[in-house]
Symmetry: D2
Subunit: 134 residues, 4 copies
Amino acid sequence: MSNSRFEERAKKYFGLEVTDRDRAIFEGAITLGAIYHQFVGTPVSRDAGVVSDLERAIEKTMALQPYIESVKVKIDTSDIGEGTHPYDYSEVSGRNLSVELVSRYGKARVHMGMKFVAELDFPLMFIERIEEED
Amino acid sequence: MSNSRFEERAKKYFGLEVTDRDRAIFEGAITLGAIYHQFVGTPVSRDAGVVSDLERAIEKTMALQPYIESVKVKIDTSDIGEGTHPYDYSEVSGRNLSVELVSRYGKARVHMGMKFVAELDFPLMFIERIEEED
Amino acid sequence: MSNSRFEERAKKYFGLEVTDRDRAIFEGAITLGAIYHQFVGTPVSRDAGVVSDLERAIEKTMALQPYIESVKVKIDTSDIGEGTHPYDYSEVSGRNLSVELVSRYGKARVHMGMKFVAELDFPLMFIERIEEED
Amino acid sequence: MSNSRFEERAKKYFGLEVTDRDRAIFEGAITLGAIYHQFVGTPVSRDAGVVSDLERAIEKTMALQPYIESVKVKIDTSDIGEGTHPYDYSEVSGRNLSVELVSRYGKARVHMGMKFVAELDFPLMFIERIEEED
């Protein structure tokens, strides 16, 4: 099925009032929620090779989701131990995971992200900027 | 910290162009993505008690996410075996999970959902309706 | 397929040296790892109803796994905020999740569990006791 | 804390009857269950680069778990569409995921794995071989 045929069929399930802007926000936010709940709990260490492989894998797999233009993932491992014994590793969590994501649908492009915000003691997801072409 | 103090702080991380409608879509869609990627893979059987307990647990825990007004979850177990041997059970998947969710932020309320759509062979997430108060 | 027919077929994939004791440990440990990595990240609050519904759902769904005789789950919510604003909730993590599980295969029954151990700063999984019938 | 100091403390939580063989099976099986329930649901496509990056990331992160000597992961993407439209991708599931894992504790080394077994219609986890030094 071609891209346009497929999208035509999918669109029937959306309300008529849904704009390109609404849809771009929707698709990007799904992927933010997906990243967090898919990967939280994954073991990580201070080993730069392990961490960067995981960051790339998250970016590439989650960019497959519909209407995602780019995904950038950073896992901060500065609080993790040196790996001196078998239990000395940590895991992906809301405290060490940050994401920048761009979604695009039709004439709208949305920049969004997540990061741990100390003043809120919360891994906040937020919309940074919305671009709409005329 | 009071609700309004907290939201005031969170709001600084959002672009100024972000409307109540944008935000309600954003928060609801995060939770749709979260439900799928948190619970896919959970064992389920035809036992109605097991399934309804899981449905209620998903609804109640995911309704804790910010600005979610209601969550309704249904797991279709009609394709699952009778449980006649130790491996005769199944799991939550895009084929048997459906969700209806209402998010609300300020003057906007958004009805969204997910269900498996046979003609697309895909567990589609969609925005059903957007309500905005004057 | 009957239980015994099915198990006969499954057994071909196991080494001949694998005993009932080995197998009971194996099946129970799979489920411990499964519980942690399936449910870590699930939102929870201090609301006793939400927490006990989630505990029961984890117990009932994970008891479906092969050769699991019982599962008991406790999520400690004493460190979670009062829920005074939309971001004032927490999630299932290695620090608040504890599990007691009994697996049984043939003549062996194994009691195992997981809990956060402060002196190790780690959510330790452990075998408490192994029973073997003559 | 040194490796031996740490393990000494951890060992107190295990029954005295637990042998090296028991423990090696236990630690390996936890990781099999963890891999399945952590990564099932992750988006994948036929793109060989995406898939091999994810396979490597799973291998490297899950090898961090205690007493895991090696992990080999294969995700079969032959059933996935060509990616001709935004919804034309798939996800990690029990049908396409296979794992080979070696755990080692003291004098015991255990070879185990998981793969989808058609005759059982189930993603079976199994112990292939147990080696014990004198």
